[in-house]
């Protein structure tokens, strides 16, 4: 049933957009989940598990792209963390692959050598970083300088 719903949504909209962004560790713990489509909680849980199963069996010789239902996952592994973006099948793979890296470089700069625990304890800041760089499933801002400047400004308000 869920599969069908996803399929319908995919057909109905021709626009290209990110469907969700996930950060997971090797054990499958979610460190960030940002959804750009409506899913209920059970669907989200199922998607999280499926993405983990699909991504963790792949090794360095594999591509960074994997077909996933009617979509594809573009992912990159950093130490024990998988950063995954789910997009439409005919979207630009390399652009999202580097969007992930751009995002990771911002996190790294913002948290001064980011580690998994930073994402756990500062989850509310991570959401802010995501919203600065991705909004409504689209890439919003790509300049690291601009994003960091804005983040520091917001930090000063705390």
């Amino acid at each position: 049933m869920r599969l069908k719903r996803l399929g319908e949504l995919c057909k109905r909209r021709e626009g290209l957009e990110i469907r969700f962004i996930l950060i997971q560790n090797r054990a499958g713990k979610t460190r960030l989940a940002k959804w750009y489509m409506q899913f209920d909680d059970d669907e989200k849980q199922k998607l999280i598990e499926e993405v983990h199963a699909v991504v963790t069996v792949r090794d360095a010789k594999h591509t960074n792209f994997v077909e996933f239902r009617n979509f594809k996952i573009i992912y990159r592994r950093y130490a024990g963390l998988y950063f995954c973006i789910c997009v439409d099948v005919n979207d630009n793979n390399l652009a999202y692959l580097e969007a992930i890296h751009n995002f990771v470089e911002v996190l790294n700069e913002y948290f001064h050598n980011v580690c998994e625990l930073d994402l756990v304890f500062n989850f509310y800041k991570v959401y802010t970083v995501v919203d600065e760089m991705f909004l409504a499933g689209e890439i919003r801002e790509t300049s690291q300088t601009k994003v960091l400047k804005q983040l520091l400004m917001l930090q000063s308000l705390e």
Binding site: V57, R69, A95, L135, T142
Partner: protein, 928 residues
């Protein structure tokens, strides 16, 4: 920092839950307390709730406090409030009104930080209520002269979100022309956001946004010709604004090539520059540099293909992709194969693509990632034409022998289509399809074998060859059931063409087919019965032999109604009809009407319409004879005149259950993560999730897929006779990597062991990537039993230890032999078994739709005979059979009474042994 020194999870799950419940109780009491909380505390607790929610626990309070935070004047409090709303959206109407009110205030605040938070919240939630409230407001924010850049960025994407969810609520107006001019904005972040919005709007309203083309071209031109440092912040690893370039190129794909020659010339220059840059030495060795550069390159190639009007650019694109086919980066090889696939359909570049055939074939053989091989298959399919079809079909066939299960069915379809489309010589076509069935019979769908029959029937030059070939193929001791179907059909129609050869005389043909009969499923047997009656007409000399077969109890009194009816009617027909009538009734099938190939339709359905249709449309012009395909239309073309089953003489329209279907899609199995991370060998894993359901599915059938996850597929085929059985277990390695130390173990509990004897040999401990190994289990039922044995599989995959356990569906009812009996016998025995210990009854709710035919099939599949006209109430089902064990035989009677109104069943089992009644009742109840 709010969570100073607090651990997200306790030592164990229980400890965590305990800790969290304590915390939730604490927060609840704070919220309910008499003392009004200050903003800081409120924020702290709402944030804690959010944290607990994100750890995976349900939160059912705190919404009101979160909404209160929205009206705070402090950024941190507002931010947590908005985050809570975005993550835990609740379409509680009362709250939505309050939330919208707060958003409205923030949008009007002229404070860019607050406006940003409000816009991000709308963009995250994007509900219809929000669209109603703000769709009119946001365009104003977007185009207002004094709006800050960062707010413009958010407003553009926020509007995009609302347009996607509720396009009817977003009014077009003067703002649209001003939005287009954002492509000229100085701030590249604004351009980036605006381009996404414009692209989506342009897809729906191309006329209104036409002016965006020239603006996008000039923006793109400025980017690609800039020196690598010109754009400062927006240069990423020496590549100027790669994401914006990609977005602009995508926007241009909403339109045909620009009409204005100046704009068009400028765009061509841009595309040439991008292609030229691909040839320049890299400015950095970092992968980020090449990825960003190639992201733009691939998008440019997409645009070139989309325009499909500049032969020079198309060929250059093809050459560039050709270089990538041999690149050491797997990503690039993958993308090159994918992109070349669309190039192959262009008139201008089709020939250029074909020159890479050897590289692509090599990729099929050597790539380690199955998805790359899949793309290679796609590309071979796309580049196939009359000149290279024999080579490509041969390569695909040989790849099929080792191909991953996940893509076999699709390859089968593709081979079948190509073989048909480019067949110059139909003997080649027949050989190819028979090879397909031989190599991958399980994956050959009905459409494929229907199709070969249609073609043979429609082309008389190939009929003799087809008859000879299927006859030879059927000589193999073990041949796939699909081959028996094709063979049965073709010999029934054209067996006479080879009957002159004493080596394939009518009797030999018949004996050959009949030797397969008992191993086949019901639909195939039905088809073979029709072949036999056709033989009666073709070869009068075998008529007595065939009549004997039809007359035998196993046909005339077969438990399956369809088979029984065919046997009865065919026998009668062969006895009463004159030779003339027989010849008329059993005339050769008339040609099928020409229609679109049903295989093609199937492939389109599998792959989504766009990819295949494009390909077909362009190819049609090139291929001389598409041999437009008929679909099976047996019902209307049959000339037979007897009632129901005769309408489709050879069972083609009967929609029999698909023979041994392909594995379910990867989303199917619930057990995706069966202990991937545990590393303790020799411990038997708990049963895989979903195992019970799978187990239940096998109670009434013997073949199918028992278990499947990302790595492993386990298939079963089994047969039982009296108290003995044999089960074939197929272990398929779905990955491209070896499984090591592969050890399946059968485990019978102490209780089960004396009652059920299982014998098997160990399998090879190494299972190659893509390979399938088979294990045979010999089964003997010594005495009645209740539990099922467990199959445990342990192996190493890559660095991880895998441990999977599933219940093996060997159940007591497998040792059933059906017993036919008349009404009075039944009730006599029923009364004899009236001792309370002998009867077990279960009343239960229907879990499936209550369909009479399905119920009948299940009772027969369960193993007992289905006795018609025994129960005075025709809605009830009655069955009888004998359970065979080594030590004894147990007679069983069953009665199933459906109550449609209540959607309930009552099932009663009477046997001479209580435990048997009990177990059979359990097993059968679970089926309805």
């Amino acid at each position: 920092m709010i969570y100073h020194g607090k651990h997200p999870a306790g030592k164990s799950k229980e400890a965590e839950i305990k800790r969290i419940n304590k915390e939730l109780a604490n927060i609840r009491s704070k919220f309910k307390g008499d003392k009004a909380l200050d903003g800081y505390s409120k924020k702290k607790y709402v944030c804690k709730l959010l944290f607990i929610f994100l750890l995976g626990h349900d939160i059912d309070f705190g919404h009101m406090e979160a909404v209160n935070l929205l009206s705070s004047n402090r950024y941190t409090e507002k931010q947590i409030g908005y985050l809570f709303i975005s993550v835990l959206v609740n379409s509680n109407s009362e709250l939505i009104r309050l939330i919208n009110n707060a958003i409205k205030n923030d949008l009007a605040s002229r404070n860019p930080t607050f406006m940003g938070l409000a816009l991000h919240c709308i963009a995250s939630v994007g509900s219809r209520e929000m669209a109603e409230a703000f769709a009119g407001e946001i365009p104003k924010v977007l185009v207002a002269g004094d709006t800050m850049d960062s707010v413009k960025q958010s407003a553009a994407l926020c509007l995009l979100r609302l347009y996607r969810t509720s396009p009817d609520l977003v009014p077009m107006g003067d703002w649209t022309s001003r939005v287009v001019h954002l492509l000229n904005d100085q701030h590249l972040g604004v351009v980036t956001a605006a381009t996404s919005l414009i692209t989506t709007l342009a897809q729906k309203n191309p006329e209104e946004f036409k002016t965006s083309v020239s603006l996008a071209v000039s923006r793109l031109s400025r980017i690609v010709t800039s020196a690598s440092t010109d754009l400062q912040d927006y240069t990423y690893y020496f590549v100027p604004a790669p994401w914006l370039s990609v977005k602009l190129l995508r926007l241009l794909q909403c339109y045909p090539p620009p009409e204005d020659p100046a704009v068009r010339g400028r765009l061509t220059e841009c595309l040439e520059t991008i292609l030229n840059k691909a040839q320049e030495p890299p400015k950095s060795k970092k992968v980020q540099h090449s990825n960003a550069k190639n992201a733009v390159l691939f998008e440019a190639i997409s645009l070139i293909i989309h325009h499909d009007s500049e032969p020079n650019l198309l060929v250059r694109a093809c050459n560039q992709l050709g270089q990538f086919l041999q690149h050491r980066e797997t990503n690039l090889r993958y993308l090159a194969l994918e992109s070349m696939c669309t190039l192959a359909s262009s008139e201008f570049s089709h020939e250029a693509v074909k020159t890479h055939i050897e590289t692509v074939i090599n990729a099929l053989k050597t790539e380690r990632d199955v998805s790359v091989r899949q793309r290679a298959v796609d590309l071979l399919y796309a580049m196939c034409d009359r000149s290279n079809a024999p080579q490509i079909v041969a390569e695909m066939l040989s790849y099929l022998e080792t191909a991953d299960y996940s893509i076999r069915e699709e390859i089968v379809l593709k081979v079948a289509i190509l073989a048909e489309k480019y067949a110059v010589d139909y003997t080649w076509y027949v050989d190819t399809i028979l090879n397909l069935i031989r190599i991958a019979g399980d994956y050959v769908s009905e459409e494929v074998w229907y199709r070969v029959i249609q073609i043979v029937i429609n082309r008389d030059d190939v009929q003799g060859y087809a008859a000879k070939t299927v006859f030879e193929a059927l000589q193999a001791p073990a041949c796939h059931e699909n081959l028996v179907k094709v063979g049965g059909y073709i010999l029934g129609e054209f067996g006479n063409l080879i009957a002159g050869d004493p080596r394939s005389s009518p009797l030999i043909q018949f004996n050959l087919l009949h030797s397969k009969f008992h191993l086949c499923s019901v639909p195939t047997r039905a088809l073979l019965l029709s072949t036999y009656i056709k033989f009666v007409n073709l070869f009068p000399e075998v008529k007595p032999t065939i009549q004997d077969v039809l007359r035998s109890d196993s046909q005339l009194r077969n438990a399956d109604v369809e088979l029984q009816q065919r046997a009865v009617e065919y026998l009668r027909l062969s006895t009463v009809a004159s030779t003339d009538i027989l010849a008329t009734v059993l005339e050769e099938m008339p040609p099928f009407p020409e229609r679109e190939s049903s295989i093609l339709a199937k492939l389109k359905k599998k792959k989504g319409p766009s990819t295949v249709t494009d390909l077909e449309d362009t190819k049609r012009e090139r291929s001389v004879d598409v041999n437009g395909g008929p679909e099976p239309a047996p019902a209307s073309t049959s000339t037979m005149s007897t009632p129901s089953p005769s309408a489709d003489l050879l069972g083609l329209g009967a929609a029999p259950p698909a023979p041994a279907g392909p594995p379910p899609s990867s989303g199917g199995g619930g057990g995706l993560l069966v202990d991937v991370f545990s590393d303790s060998a020799s411990v038997v894993a708990p049963l895989a999730p979903g195992s019970e359901d799978n187990f239940a599915r096998f109670v009434c059938k013997n073949n199918g897929v028992l278990f499947e996850n990302q790595l492993l597929q386990i298939g079963l085929k089994s047969e039982f006779r009296q108290n003995l059985g044999r089960m074939f277990i197929f272990y398929g390695n779905k990955t491209s990597t070896q499984f090591l130390n592969f050890t399946p173990t059968l485990i019978c509990s102490d209780e089960l062991q004396p009652n059920l004897n299982l014998q098997t040999k160990p399998v090879d401990p190494t299972v190659e990537g893509g390979a399938q190994v088979q294990q045979v289990v010999n089964i003997e039922c010594v005495s009645d039993f209740t539990e099922a044995p467990v199959l445990n599989i342990q192996f190493r995959y890559g660095g991880t230890f895998q441990n999977v356990s599933v219940q093996l569906p060997i159940t007591l009812n497998k040792f059933f032999q059906p017993t036919e009996m008349a009404s009075q016998d039944f009730f006599q025995r029923w009364k004899q078994l009236s001792n309370p210990q002998q009867e077990v009854q279960n009343i239960f709710k229907a879990k499936h739709p209550m369909d009479t035919e399905v119920t009948k099939a299940k009772i027969i599949g369960f193993g007992s005979a289905l006795l018609e006209e025994v129960d005075p109430n025709p809605a009830n089902f009655v069955g009888a059979g004998i359970i065979h064990t080594k030590t004894t035989q147990i007679g069983c009677l069953l009665r199933l009474e459906p109550n449609l109104q209540a959607q309930m069943y009552r099932l009663t089992l009477r046997t001479s042994k209580e435990a048997v009644s009990q177990r059979l009742c359990e097993l059968l109840s679970a089926q309805f």
